[in-house]
């Protein structure tokens, strides 16, 4: 009996000793949200041809990362260490001394018309490389795309989200006096570079949308005098009218997630309803049939639902319904008018335009209408379009008496910035990541 008690005592005492070795436990619930300092020294030229791109590549990468608002560049003039070889060991103390936390080291070589770019990303705080180094090869004419690819890889490695730098935006480029404005369809890199017009400006064009593959665009054109839907091949520039309904005005088209169908609005008589057009067969299906105005449809990423705006309740609100039609559920219940809903590529949020008390806002809400957040406010903000990664929204902002311009904002509401364009622009449609 005594042995049993002694064993019990020993067990408890040993448990006690083990428990006394427990670590100090703390909990942190508040941190900071600030840009991460990074450095991108000029890429190392590995031959004579690469030297003319070495500096430019690093500058594009730095500009891309800075534009997100998540990163802050430590300028090259502040660097202590010099990168002279792609494979040289990184002097972490020198980079820590200038408060760099992420370091991008790259090299470039140009052989005839082929450009080869490679890079490595280093976590200066931990003193180790992050992930694997990558190498891209392409035409020298596409050197900016190579820089965008590097930027996307760095962004993804640090944030854990997909990038959006190697993507393009179709928009409406405006010129001329306000009372006689010329509107042309145009396409640019997401950073406002490489602008190329797609239409000649003889007819008014509005509301372009890019196909999921990025090879086509649909938009509303007034080339016949009334709104019609046109489908354009972005490589050839050839366009044709689609979704013709005799006696009806058709407008506000958008691609299905598989790119094989369109959904759009048609005004027939005093009503405006939604229709679905199969681009392969030309078959058309009516999705709504109400005396109200149903317009601005947008697919969910899985293609099972549609969100659209309708004034069937008396004022413009946002609704969600099955893709084949049926019961539509109203999801917006705040004050003001809601319009132009667009489903996020991630599927979790719907971006919208809201007007209330004389102000316009770009906002987001969950697909059930909950957790509404307004990201912007101004005299006129409208027409949101999602970046391919669902983190950034581009839209049109127009100041009172001013020209329209393109702006972008993070879905956190931070980092509102103007897309650098020399001329007025509106109706952005963000395309997918390029292959």
């Amino acid at each position: 009996m005594t042995r049993l008690f002694t064993a019990l005592l020993a067990m408890l005492l040993s448990f006690g000793l083990a428990a006394q070795a427990q670590p100090l436990r703390l909990q942190i619930t508040e941190g900071v949200i600030e840009p991460m300092p990074f450095a991108v020294p000029a890429f190392v030229p590995e031959d004579n041809g690469g030297s003319q791109y070495a500096e430019a590549l690093s500058r594009v990468v730095a500009a891309n990362l800075t534009s997100t608002g998540l990163f802050r560049e430590v300028p090259p003039t502040a660097h202590i260490a010099r990168i002279t070889s792609f494979d040289a060991a990184v002097s972490y103390p020198d980079w820590r001394a200038v408060n760099v936390q992420a370091l991008v080291v790259g090299a470039v070589a140009a052989n005839n018309s082929t450009l080869t770019v490679k890079f490595r990303l280093f976590d200066v705080v931990s003193g180790q490389q992050m992930g694997q180094g990558l190498q891209f090869a392409g035409s020298v004419q596409d050197w900016r795309r190579m820089a965008h690819k590097v930027s996307d890889a760095v962004y993804s490695q640090i944030t854990g989200e997909g990038g959006y730098f190697d993507s393009r935006v179709v928009f409406v480029a405006e010129s001329g006096p306000r009372e006689n404005r010329t509107k042309q369809l145009a396409i640019m890199d997401q950073d406002g570079q490489n602008i190329r017009t797609l239409t000649d400006g003889r007819s008014l064009v509005i509301a372009p949308r890019v196909s999921p593959a990025g090879d086509r665009a649909v938009y509303t054109t007034y080339q016949t005098g009334s709104p019609r839907i046109a489908l354009m091949d972005l490589r050839s520039g050839q366009a044709q009218l689609v979704g013709e309904i005799p006696g009806a005005m058709t407008f506000s088209p958008r691609f299905a997630p598989d790119g094989r169908a369109l959904v759009f609005s048609a005004a027939i008589g005093s009503t405006t309803d939604l229709f679905r057009l199969d681009l392969g067969t030309g078959q058309m299906v009516r999705l709504t049939n109400s005396p109200a105005i149903d317009t601005a449809p947008s697919f969910s990423p899985d293609g099972r639902f549609l969100t659209f705006e309708s004034d069937r309740s008396g004022s413009s609100q946002i609704y969600v319904m099955p893709v084949g039609g049926g019961d539509a559920q109203r999801i917006s219940f705040g004050q003001g008018r809601y319009s132009t809903p667009v489903w996020s590529p991630r599927g979790d949020l719907i971006a919208f335009t809201k007007s209330h008390a004389g102000r316009f806002h770009i906002g987001v809400m969950r697909s059930d209408g909950s957790e509404e957040r307004l990201l912007t406010a101004s005299f006129l903000d409208e027409g949101p379009s999602w970046a391919p990664n669902g983190r950034v929204i581009m839209f049109t902002r127009e100041a009172q008496g001013g020209d329209p311009a393109l702006y972008a904002v993070d879905i956190t509401g931070r980092n509102l910035r103007r897309v650098p364009l020399a001329s007025p622009a509106s109706d952005p449609a963000w395309g997918p990541l390029l292959p």
Partner: protein, 368 residues
């Protein structure tokens, strides 16, 4: 006496116990007056009153005049839907003189549970300008005096005087009656989440052997049950030992820093140091929702050993998002120690902070 002994001798054990208990209860009532009724001869409070007339009473008890009701708000007319759809561009909105916004986040409704920094409880002293509480070791005087030095430059050499601090003061009196619910919540939030654990039970003194004095008895003492006495002693000692061992064991399990040899302020200083380096701004929106717990060891110089940092636990999210959240927390642990050349913890309590586990919970920073 012999009759009583005879009666006792014929009683069984249960009857003996019952008799002892009943006698004890009667004795308790007699001695301690257990069922003592409260005294009724307490002094009654007496207050002086004055007589007033019926008219004065009616004037005092009349209800106050009702406040005028606000005018009803006009009900806005419902906006009729437009008769004809307008597929063209949006109509130009009415001119708006307000300046442009910088694009801040708006939340339509306040988020319940949003945490704020707790406000200090107002002090009793009222002054034109508020004064923070002086350090505990400071001398408090109604008039703050800067410390002077006899060798300070100047025309007049003042005698050296001791520096004193003004007493803690505030600009208004806030009583408990005027405290708002928010104040109470804030004070509740400022309350410590863990209370100090009671000290372990002291060891029992070694038993002192005392010579037993045999009780005089005419009857021979009943034969003692041989197992009864030893079992009682061992059981008591084992119970005491188990209690002591449990108390010692449990003392090391809690997260109260006081019990580990690190003061609350020192532990809080470590927490704040790491907190200011925990940057979740570059994390994905998914990773910003994840709670991770990291464990690591520290050198005697209070520098975290990088190779020892590991993931203890995580809540929610995909593996990739957990990895991002882990890296952000890891950078926080390393970066702040590097920038200050260690966390400056007391070396005498090294064993208390040699191993650390920190839970990084972004609940206070999530998107609302």
């Amino acid at each position: 006496m012999s009759v009583a002994s005879d009666i006792v001798g014929r009683m069984d054990t249960g009857q003996k116990a019952s008799a002892v208990l009943h006698l004890g209860l009667v004795g308790w009532v007699l001695v301690f007056d257990l069922f003592h009724a409260p005294s009724s001869d307490l002094e009654l409070p007496v207050a002086e009153v004055s007589l007033i007339s019926a008219t004065e009473f009616a004037a005092l008890s009349a209800p106050p005049a009702p406040a005028p009701e606000p005018a009803p708000m006009p009900v806005p007319e419902p906006t009729p839907p437009p008769a004809q759809p307008e597929p063209g561009p949006q109509p130009e909105p009415a001119p708006e003189p307000e300046p442009e916004s910088t694009g801040a986040i708006f939340s339509p409704v306040p988020t319940p549970g949003a945490t704020e920094r707790p406000a200090p409880r107002p002090v009793d002293r009222v002054a034109p300008t508020p004064t923070e509480a002086p350090p505990e070791d400071a001398t408090v005087d109604l008039t703050a005096q800067p410390q002077t030095s006899a060798d300070a430059p100047g025309d007049v050499v003042l005698p050296e005087q001791e520096q004193v601090a003004p007493p803690e003061a505030t600009t208004e009196i806030v009583t408990e009656a005027t405290e708002t619910a928010t104040d109470s919540l804030e004070r509740a939030a400022a309350a410590p989440t863990v209370s100090p654990r009671p000290r372990t039970r002291p060891e029992r003194p070694a038993p002192v052997e005392v010579a037993e004095t045999p009780e005089p008895s005419e009857d021979p003492a009943p034969a003692p049950e041989p197992e009864a006495e030893p079992v009682t002693d061992v059981a008591t000692e084992v119970a005491d030992a188990v209690a002591a061992a449990l108390a010692d064991s449990l003392a090391g399990i809690g997260n109260a820093p006081q019990q580990t040899g690190l003061s609350a302020s020192e532990a809080d200083r470590l927490r704040l140091a790491i907190q200011q380096c925990w940057n979740i701004g570059t994390l994905s929106t998914e990773a910003q929702q994840i709670t991770v717990t990291l464990g690591f060891s520290m050198t005697p110089g209070a520098m975290p050993e990088q190779g020892s940092i590991y993931l203890v636990d995580s809540t929610g999210g995909t593996d990739g998002a957990v990895s991002q959240a882990f890296e952000a927390a890891r950078r926080a642990i390393i970066r702040c120690a590097s920038s200050t050349n260690g966390y400056g913890l007391p070396p005498e309590s090294y064993e208390a902070w040699r191993n650390v586990e920190i839970t990084f919970n972004p609940e206070g920073m999530r998107l609302r």
